[in-house]
């Protein structure tokens, strides 16, 4: 296995531990210890997968962590921890792919600079996501069924069009 440059190698397990810890804490505060064990097992699997260079673990673990966070969102006082867990999982998923890109690229020009800029961007995105997510969690608005449906349809259509546009741009 190739050696990952050190800042990414440190930040990746830290993110996994952060995500696992946040979700575990959220469920732990509500006494759901069996789910805490499942989360811990998933965290360990992610760390092992990352250590052994399994490419598939990151995406599978992200989906699992987001679903676990979504399930746990109804529990108070664990809402904030769920959001933090999801953002942590997102960061770990990104760092996993970034480390893969660095490893699989042969010659890397200015590794430290690339890593530094990546971490800066990641910090901005994570902070913004966490902040806006927290605001959205705290906001309380009464919406009728019709408006909710309309919003849902708009969101789905908007995202579909945006994705198609971006895919065309990439091609």
């Amino acid at each position: 296995m190739n050696e990952t440059p050190s800042p990414t190698a440190k930040a990746l397990p830290a993110s996994i531990v952060l995500a696992t810890g946040a979700l575990g804490l959220g469920y732990g505060l509500n006494g759901s210890w069996s789910i805490v064990i499942v989360i811990a097992a998933l965290g360990v699997l992610w760390l092992v997968g990352q250590w052994l260079g399994w490419g598939w673990t990151a995406s599978v673990e992200l989906v699992c962590f987001v679903i676990i966070a979504a399930v746990g969102l109804g529990m108070r006082p664990g809402d904030g921890w769920m959001l933090a867990g999801a953002v942590g999982a997102l960061s770990a998923w990104d760092l996993h792919h970034f480390a893969q890109r660095l490893r699989g690229s042969g010659q890397v020009e200015g590794t430290r600079a690339l890593e530094r800029r990546h971490f800066q961007r990641l910090l901005v995105v994570d902070s913004t996501g966490l902040l806006l997510g927290a605001v959205a969690l705290g906001a309380r608005t009464e919406l009728g069924f019709g408006i909710a449906l309309l919003l849902g349809v708009l969101a789905v259509l908007g995202l579909t069009r945006a994705t198609r546009f971006l895919r065309q741009q990439s091609d």
Partner: protein, 429 residues
């Protein structure tokens, strides 16, 4: 792009789940994911404007010889946060040292240089087409791929052996002095005959013994002139004369032999042309020296066996390509129906040499020995011996080359005087 799809799918699931259960918190959980997609969109890269230049250490190298490749990729557009440059190596070329991929962040006007070494795994003409550049944002969600032209050509020439001088005796030679006996009296080394003394003849050429018997006349010795000659190499590239077993091809041996012969004949100063006779005719016009050597090696590098209804037999060898009464060398494993055409060439006055890589020993070596195989090999050997004898009787020089032996050894053994004497008394050398 798969990563983007995963994020979008997660957002969809959270949205539908939240709307279905009327749980606003699920929509809130989708917010960080949407922020990610939005950030990647905002920081997404423009269409890259890159210029690539490529330098090869050499344009021609023998098989397995390392060739240095330098690739310089310059950014002529705005900042590219992450750009992965990958040189697409042609099939048949392998990376020996260094890296053909590089990841970098390129500011406007900045360059990334790649230096690596490749080697040809097989003979051929290989075209480096271009460089694949993948640019993306730091989050890696929207990669853009672009193929950048950076063409170059590397010829992996067949190996050549240094052969000792080959004794050929074409009926007609060229006017320039060379190493080939010209069947004509004049100045030279080997005794050719005696003629009457002519004013201007050096006195040391006077044959005093003969002159003593003819008191009123002086006689001088004549020596055989030595000239260069026209040599036409014909490489038989008909698919039916080739044998491929376990990744080995008999044709490769024929190509190597042709390259060695071309090098030797050109090294002696002769005018050499090459005809690759197979799926089509690939004709290298006769010429002299190093430039011609390069042309012939280039033609041999890309020589392939082929099928053609027209060129299935040797009957359509275009004799007009070769000067009358010149030396022809056919490199062929030979087919049973080939001798009539070869005998006809001989009858037209061409001095013909056939270098024949032995297909029977080549194939037998790679087959599992058993009784049936042994019997088949014996019969095939008898047929081949008959075929070669037929050619020799027509005055064609034949080199029966068992390809597990070095070519120089095989050709010099076959063409030596001792071998000729053994054949004359009916014993195989």
């Amino acid at each position: 792009m798969r990563r983007l799809l995963l994020l979008v799918m997660l957002v969809y699931v959270l949205f539908l789940w939240g709307l279905g259960t009327l749980n606003g918190a699920l929509l809130a959980l989708a917010v960080p994911l949407i922020v990610w997609v939005g950030a990647a969109l905002v920081w997404g890269s423009e269409k890259p404007k890159l210029r690539v230049s490529r330098t090869l250490g050499t344009n021609r190298a023998p098989k397995g010889t390392p060739v240095a490749v330098k690739l310089s990729v310059a950014n002529e557009g705005p900042l590219l946060e992450e750009v992965l440059v990958e040189d697409m190596l042609p099939r048949g070329i392998e990376l020996v040292a260094g890296e053909s991929r590089a990841l970098a962040s390129l500011g406007p006007g900045e360059t990334v240089d790649l230096e690596y070494t490749v080697a040809g795994k097989q003979r051929g003409v290989f075209a480096f087409r271009g460089v694949e550049a993948t640019t993306g944002d730091y989050l890696g969600l929207f990669p853009r791929r672009a193929s950048l032209p950076a063409s170059a050509q590397l010829t992996v020439a067949p190996e050549t052996l240094k052969l000792r001088r080959l004794a050929i005796h074409p009926l007609r030679t060229r006017a320039t002095a060379g190493p080939i006996p010209a069947r004509r009296g004049g100045s030279g080394v080997d005794f050719f005959g005696i003629r009457e003394y002519q004013p201007g003849d050096p006195l040391r050429w006077v044959n005093w013994r003969v002159s003593a018997r003819h008191p009123r006349t002086l006689y001088t010795n004549e020596f055989e002139q030595e000239r260069i000659a026209d040599v036409g190499l014909i490489l038989d590239a008909r698919r039916r004369t080739d044998i491929r077993l376990n990744g080995n091809a008999l044709f490769e041996n024929a190509v190597r032999a042709t390259a060695s012969l071309a090098e030797t004949f050109l090294g002696d100063g002769n005018r050499v042309g090459l005809l690759v006779y197979g799926g089509f005719l690939d004709w290298t016009f006769p010429g002299y020296g190093k430039v011609q050597r390069e042309r012939i090696l280039q033609a041999l590098a890309k020589a392939e066996t082929g099928d053609s209804l027209v060129f299935d037999s040797l009957d359509y060898i275009p004799t007009r390509f070769f000067p009358a009464k010149s030396q022809l060398v056919l490199i062929s494993a030979l087919c049973p129906d080939d001798p009539p055409m070869l005998i006809r060439l001989r009858a037209h006055g061409y001095q013909l040499m056939v270098v024949s890589p032995d297909p029977i020993s080549f194939e037998a070596r790679l087959l599992k020995p058993d009784e049936a195989v042994d019997l088949a090999v014996r019969i095939a050997r008898l047929e081949r011996a008959m075929l070669l004898r037929q050619l020799r009787r027509a005055g064609i020089q034949v080199v029966d080359w068992q390809v597990d032996k070095p070519f120089d050894q095989a050709i010099h053994t076959s063409l030596s005087r001792a071998a000729h004497w053994f054949r004359t008394i009916g014993v195989a050398p």
